[in-house]
Amino acid sequence: MDRRYVYLDNNGTTRMADEVRAFIHENESLYGNASSMHTLGRQAAAGIEWARSEIAKLIDGDPSSVYFTSGATESNNTVLSIFRDRIDSGDSRKKIVISTVEHPATIETAKYLAGKGYIIDYCPVDGIGRLDLETLKRIVTDETALVSVMTGNNESGTIQPVKEAAAIAHSHGAYFHTDATQAIGKIPVSVKDIGADYLSLSGHKFYGPKGVGVLYARKGAPLSPFIHGGHQEHGMRAGTYNNQAVYGIGKAAELARLNLTEEHDKLWQMREALRKGIEERIPDVVVNGSNDENLCLPGTLNMSFPSAEGESILLYLDLEGIEVSTGSACATGSLEPSYVLLAAGLDVELAHGSIRFSFGRYNTMEDVDYVLEKLPPIIEKVRSMSTRKV
């Protein structure tokens, strides 16, 4: 095949949808401060409220529970900050429970809090990276303030039993937060169905702009600002609105809602075609996560290639125009490979050799064919250089 550019890092970020780009462009003249009382301000605000309602429709929640933030990292930080505030104010519930495979935005924030003396409990996952509900039942007690479990994992693609986890949290009177950043636009996400008190999401993961996200907080769930200094978002999130980014995430939410089923099926087809093609063409490969459509985000394929190191594979693929990511330590700038894969019990060497292919809306079956042509000789080359022969 002719040389192509194949972007398979859609879990990292996505290209903005053409419709989103056009919509932002159309509304570029709305530069008014949405907090201003004059016409231009009110017009800008109307756009913000439209976007809020689109987000609400996408996650099956109430628009008044939707708070715009700079992204899911801020949303996750805000949720932990809310409970830090409550603990500081003498609340009798002093424990926060998170899974061992949460995104760094949650796990690193929790570690930071642990370093300050707050009590963080970690719930382990099984071999495909799915939450161990039996352990969760034991860990969550009447002293638990918050349980936070992501909807779907960014590295393995594993879908978490968030509905069950929320029920466990609620049975002890604890609140439940889910970081749905990776799941949005790929599988149906309903805050009502899950029973989520809080939910985080980011625009750039579903073809919206970067730098904008949402914190959903159910009416009645505790709230306190993380960023102070203005009355925006009912005083819960200060800072002048980034109008165009908010319009963009609104448009992206509309598209995600309208195309969800079709998009899910197309992503899963490409993922499975790549997985089967790799398994046919390359000996000795391991899938990290699940191959069950109900347990895996449709566009995510995480595989390890024993005796081949991840960064080398990534850079050889990059030279062919194929963009992926790796759980190798080399790519993280540390000496440890992906904690997500290790938490699922994966061997350290396999984690160093893991590659994540993540499909998106703009990929095609031709992309799959191109990867299936380019990948086998690369793995063969890396393995031929390796100290251990397969």
């Binding site: 550019y5 190191e309 080398s312 850079l315 080399c330 540390s334 000496l335 350290v348 250089m385």
Partner: protein, 203 residues
């Protein structure tokens, strides 16, 4: 794609060249009878290297290598192989990571310690060659740097203790050598050396 900005490659052009076209690779099935073989690192650590040398008239006449590791690990071993060829055993024994890194046009700092192991694998191969041939090893110890001045503990002492599995923690190292038990000024450097050795030989 927009072209206002140009992406730099992750490493220097020299690294890229050696990554794409590795020199002196130990190809499968190749008839290469090594006079000495050295191996350092581990798969668990993400970097492992094996170096085989041929020795003629006290010089490295030929050399082959294998590497499990990232692009900079592959490139640095490849570069080392070019530099070491033709060197006397003494010169080869004193090849340092900095010399390899300089020849590559530099590496990011976090890559320097973990991926430049070629010199150590080469030294291990020379040790192996001398041992196999019942020859004295006049070089062992000659490259040692003192880290703990109070107790006279060198980097090679630490390397040897970790390599042989006698030491895996700072406390064990202190008990074994007394390192950093007097003035304590060297603590950070001892820890750095220990962690590096644990990365290369540990687990």
């Amino acid at each position: 794609m927009a072209d206002s900005f140009m992406a730099q490659w992750v490493y220097t052009d020299t690294v890229k060249d050696h990554f794409i076209n590795p020199r002196n690779l130990w190809k499968e099935g190749e008839a290469f009878e090594a006079d000495g073989v050295g191996e350092v690192g581990s798969l668990a650590c993400g970097d492992q290297m094996r170096v085989g040398i041929k020795v003629k008239d006290g010089r490295i006449s030929d050399l082959r290598w294998l590497t499990y590791g990232c692009a900079s690990a592959i490139a640095s071993t490849s570069m080392m192989s070019e530099m070491a060829k033709g060197m006397t055993l003494e010169e080869a024994y004193h090849l340092t990571p900095s010399m390899i890194t300089d020849a590559l046009g530099g590496l990011p700092e976090h890559k320097f310690h973990c991926s430049v192991l070629g010199d150590k694998a080469l030294r291990a191969a020379i040790d192996d060659y001398l041992e196999k041939n019942g020859l004295d090893n006049p070089y062992k110890g000659s490259t040692a740097k003192i880290i703990c001045e109070c107790k006279g503990v060198t980097d090679q002492m630490i390397e040897e203790l970790v390599k042989t599995g006698k030491v895996s923690t700072f406390e064990e190292l202190q008990n074994e050598t007394g390192a950093s038990t007097a003035c304590g000024k060297c603590r950070d450097r001892i820890l750095e050396e220990l962690n590096e050795c644990l990365h290369i030989y540990g687990k």
